[in-house]
Symmetry: C2
Subunit: 361 residues, 2 copies
């Protein structure tokens, strides 16, 4: 597919959670249909999709049938099994590409990739057992944080090592999974850049947002972030460098630690990102539509922003505040259609428009 | 249903066109599922709905089954057959109510209702045959416009009578349908108010937009409209009066002619309205979500506006301009997913954000 996907075409989305849901709505806004592939029943994205396939990622006939109904395939999460990707990629274009997935699925590969690009990362070392953990601690020191190399999200699969006596417990927390030890970064705050790259190499970034986490889960993103103009430009250049190096097509979330000396890349996510949800109420083209535009070979939106916004996640019991939020004229609600408000479960988010920004013409 | 509909509930929508489509997306944003009832195949709303029933409005078992899966019923168009409404209303709340439909389905009943409220309308008279047309022309004079009482939209079912020699041809154009003769109103421009009323009687209006029609179809709506502050208040009061008189729940479009002396009510539509599409990119809560909020018994958004917007319909071949519009950073696209770009067919619309408006706090 080198030409822009015509309106009316079908976009396949792997994963039926809230990101797939909001991607599906954005695709519809451009006239596309979507087909969701999701192992779980009653996926949030299914409420707003044209078709849903309920099957597991090792169901080759289902993957094949899915691919044959769509024109291009994208995804809402990075941990798609390799065998599924092999099947899908043989049938339809996959955007973003395999390389982006390979790099971002494994924290050691990701940090090595970033370091080789000349970007700052936390000091890190590979940990497979007690011996490699001890030598990693010799090299990096404590405090540090031990993480599984793969499948971690929202603070899961992580253990802090405040001093060496925590090492055994932390290693046990990894449950035998290959791990990475990361040194602590002495940062003042975290920002993220939501960046996009088109098929023709065009790159567009949204203004960086400032993230606050609670219990390992994103709590709020505030736009604008506390960042000097030159630091803001640094952040954009870092994101552009990463996207170019991966020949990336789509939206990526790049998390950065702000230190007195530099911006340290914490993590990249090859997909739309929770810290970019504010764009739904601050920009003409939001991150979901931006991703769909890239995947469909369309021109990107320019990322311009017409409002200051604070995004707040509604997690678990937070949905009890829904009546108050619904009555607040500055709050734009985005619910995910999940029936069961378990602790730690993202149920929705709210974008509060704090100040409109007159456009530069 | 007197309590607010809980997130996760299902809203039934009669009609699967673009209005149903955008209502469905708005419902999902609040965590609701939607079920579309539509006689035609492959309805635009079906691409973003949880369930679709394809059946005609005289299929009582299908209507019954549809109603039983939903918590409340609304609609995207006013010409729903009475027998279908009888079935549906016996099973679930219908919002807006029957009275709003009864009044707006027939131009004579509508104008009589408006006149009885003390509002200005064009002079009008009922026309059933040549004799009543002649006496109507005696009363109203020419130029005038002959319209079918029911089922007219986008300029269909209308014939101009510039002088009495046009009368026979105009009457023939009605094809035997009951008709209404309306006198010309000498207006400078047309505005419309998109107003909403909640279950508890709360009313919220968006700023009036200024409409330009081409070939009887809405071409553009521009916000703000040319309207003095006192006229703007008049417009809002007119809309509020209409909504209250009907004990209305939901969004209504009220079209007004601006004359040197007054605002003349042209037409009301008991649903979301094409001239309110600008709210998608100018307001925290757009007209679609506002309608869903009302129908679901939720508090309304306050209608505040954070941008100046011009909405332009993309009709038929206009979709040829899509690549240019997609490359324009100030344009927000809203495509309807229709495959066949027939002349006069609404394929999508574009909201151009012309200037952000700092919020009053």
């Amino acid at each position: 597919m080198t030409n822009p996907l015509p309106t009316g075409a079908t976009i396949g989305i792997l994963g039926g959670g809230q990101l797939g849901r909001m991607l599906s709505v954005a695709a519809a806004r451009l006239g596309f249909k979507t087909h969701i592939f999701e192992p779980g029943s009653n996926p949030p994205a299914g409420h707003v999709a044209d078709q849903v396939t309920t099957a597991s990622y090792d169901d080759i006939p289902a993957l094949t049938a899915f691919a044959e109904t769509v024109d291009v395939i994208t995804y809402e999460f990075e941990n798609i099994p390799t065998q599924a990707l092999d099947v899908l990629e043989s049938l339809r274009p996959l955007r973003p590409n395999r390389e982006a997935l390979r790099v971002s699925q494994d924290r050691v590969i990701e940090k090595t990739f970033l370091r080789d690009l000349g970007l700052d990362t936390a000091p890190f070392a590979t940990v497979d057992d007690r011996g490699t953990l001890e030598s990693a601690l010799d090299e990096i020191g404590a405090p540090a944080i031990l993480k599984t190399r793969r499948f971690g999200y929202d603070g899961k699969g992580q253990a802090r090592i405040m001093d060496r006596s925590d090492a055994a417990t932390a290693l046990a927390d990894m449950k035998g999974s290959p791990a990475i030890l990361e040194g602590f970064v002495n940062f003042t705050h975290e920002v993220s850049v939501i960046a996009a790259r088109a098929v023709d190499g065009q790159v567009a970034c949204y203004d960086p947002g400032e993230n606050v986490h609670r219990d390992g889960i994103l709590h709020t993103t505030t736009i604008p972030a506390r960042l000097s103009p030159s630091r803001q430009m640094d952040a954009v250049l870092i994101a552009g460098k990463i996207l170019n190096a991966l020949d990336y097509v789509g939206v990526m979330g790049v998390e950065l630690f702000v230190t007195p000396k530099s911006l340290v890349v914490n993590e990249i996510a090859p997909r739309v990102h929770n810290s970019g949800h504010w764009t739904q109420n601050g920009c003409t083209v939001d991150q979901f539509e931006q991703h769909i535009r890239a995947v469909a070979g369309w021109p990107l939106g320019d990322g311009r922003r017409y409002a200051d916004v604070t995004m707040k996640n509604l997690i678990g019991d937070d949905i009890g505040t829904l009546p108050t939020l619904a009555a607040d004229g500055s709050c734009a609600l985005h619910m995910y259609g999940k029936s069961d408000a378990k602790p730690g479960r993202k149920m929705g988010h709210v974008n509060r428009i704090t100040q409109a920004q007159p456009q530069k013409s």
